[in-house]
């Protein structure tokens, strides 16, 4: 091994420290400041994990996959909702500081763990569960990826339920009855699913007061969705579909 090799720093060597303010408490609480070593390719979730494992084991937060699939680790980073496992510190750090809080528009269980119950209750209100039209004995229905309906579903189906759109939506903030972008996006995928038998009830549900017509088209959901979905377009589709249902007399 050459002398140059022996002096080379390991990939995870610290490059100084970063000042991290983390929300402690529930809906009432305070920000607590920590100093965390800054490393190459470090994510915001890495920072939170470092604090919990090395500085304060009582810190509560939520994560699972760490690779942007499970949607568990969304938090507010410098005032903006983000998926923390795929957010590099170098992209969001401001003047050597970073502020991490729980998702907005949701109650706080403790510290960085938001209570996702209201978010998933909205999915239920929007009839976000698949309603089968056949029994398990029936053959699997072939769905061509080239059909119009399937292409619409493909554009909206990859939601990871992270709640970032819910936290970035002013209509959610202003109107507690509003179902929110994710639930309506889910309803839109099912409305276009030719196998689903629950669309009469679903279209009726999303046409109600807190449904698709409550959306003000601010497009914050589209701008913040970490997986690049466009719930605004899905909600617009629901607006058209409910209007068609109203004209046909299918809505009461």
């Amino acid at each position: 091994m050459s002398a140059a090799d022996t002096t080379e720093k390991p990939r995870d060597a610290a490059h100084g420290t970063i000042e991290v303010s983390i929300w402690r408490g529930r809906d009432e609480g305070r920000y607590e400041t920590f100093r965390v070593p800054m490393r190459e390719s470090q994510t915001v979730l890495d920072i939170v994990t470092h604090v919990q494992r090395h500085l304060d084991p009582t810190l509560a937060y939520r994560f699972a996959c760490r690779v942007g699939v499970c949607g568990s680790c969304a938090m507010t980073v410098n005032g903006r909702p983000r998926w923390t496992c795929r957010t590099h510190v170098s992209k969001v750090v401001e003047n050597g500081r970073i502020e991490i809080g729980p998702l907005a528009n949701l109650p706080v269980i403790k510290d960085l763990a938001a209570d996702m119950s209201p978010f998933f209750e909205k999915w239920q209100e929007a009839k976000g569960a698949f309603t089968p039209s056949k029994t398990r004995e029936a053959d699997i229905e072939p769905i061509s990826p080239e059909t119009r309906e399937r292409k619409i579903i493909d554009a909206a189906i990859e939601c990871i339920n992270c709640g970032v759109c819910f936290a970035a939506c002013d209509t959610v903030r202003w109107n507690e009855d509003y179902m929110g972008p994710a639930a309506l996006n889910r309803a839109w995928t099912l409305v276009n699913d030719v196998r689903d038998a629950g669309n009469a009830a679903r279209v009726h549900a999303v046409a109600q007061g807190g449904g698709c017509h409550a959306c003000h088209t601010h497009q914050s959901c589209e701008q913040h969705c970490p997986v690049g979905l466009n719930p605004t377009a899905s909600i617009a589709g629901l607006k058209r579909r409910t209007m068609q249902a109203f004209i046909r007399g299918e809505l009461e």
Binding site: H216, Q219, S220, A233
Partner: protein
């Protein structure tokens, strides 16, 4: 302290475009009763209305009219953008369209000001 109400997502141009649309609509709604009140002066005779219109020849009113034309233009164009989103297939380039609406409205207002000065 209470949990901070994070609002940095409001820095997005499209959120600001939505607020321009909303505020311009509110200001136009405030103007409309004044507009009808002014027109209603004609019910008291030609002289009353003409007198009021001459009074509005002051520079301050010209500036206000220019702002009004700008508000009308930006609300109209912003409304067309939202209607297109909600009634037509999705089109990319929404930020450019929103900024374009504001730019065109500013140009319309400027052209109006040049014409009346």
């Amino acid at each position: 302290m209470a949990k901070p109400r994070n609002t940095t997502y409001r820095r997005e141009p499209l959120w600001r475009a939505a607020m321009v649309h909303r505020i311009s609509g509110l200001l136009l709604a405030c103007f409309l009763p004044l507009h009808f009140l002014a027109l209603a002066l004609a019910l008291d005779g030609e002289q009353r209305l003409d007198g009021f219109l001459r009074w509005t020849d002051q520079p301050l009113f010209k500036v206000a009219e220019t702002v009004l034309v700008g508000l009308l233009a930006v609300h109209l164009l912003g409304g067309i953008r939202v209607l297109a989103i909600e009634n037509l297939p999705w089109r990319p380039g929404q930020k450019q369209m929103a900024m374009g609406a504001i730019a065109v409205a500013t140009l319309v207002a400027a052209a109006f000001l040049v014409r009346i000065v």
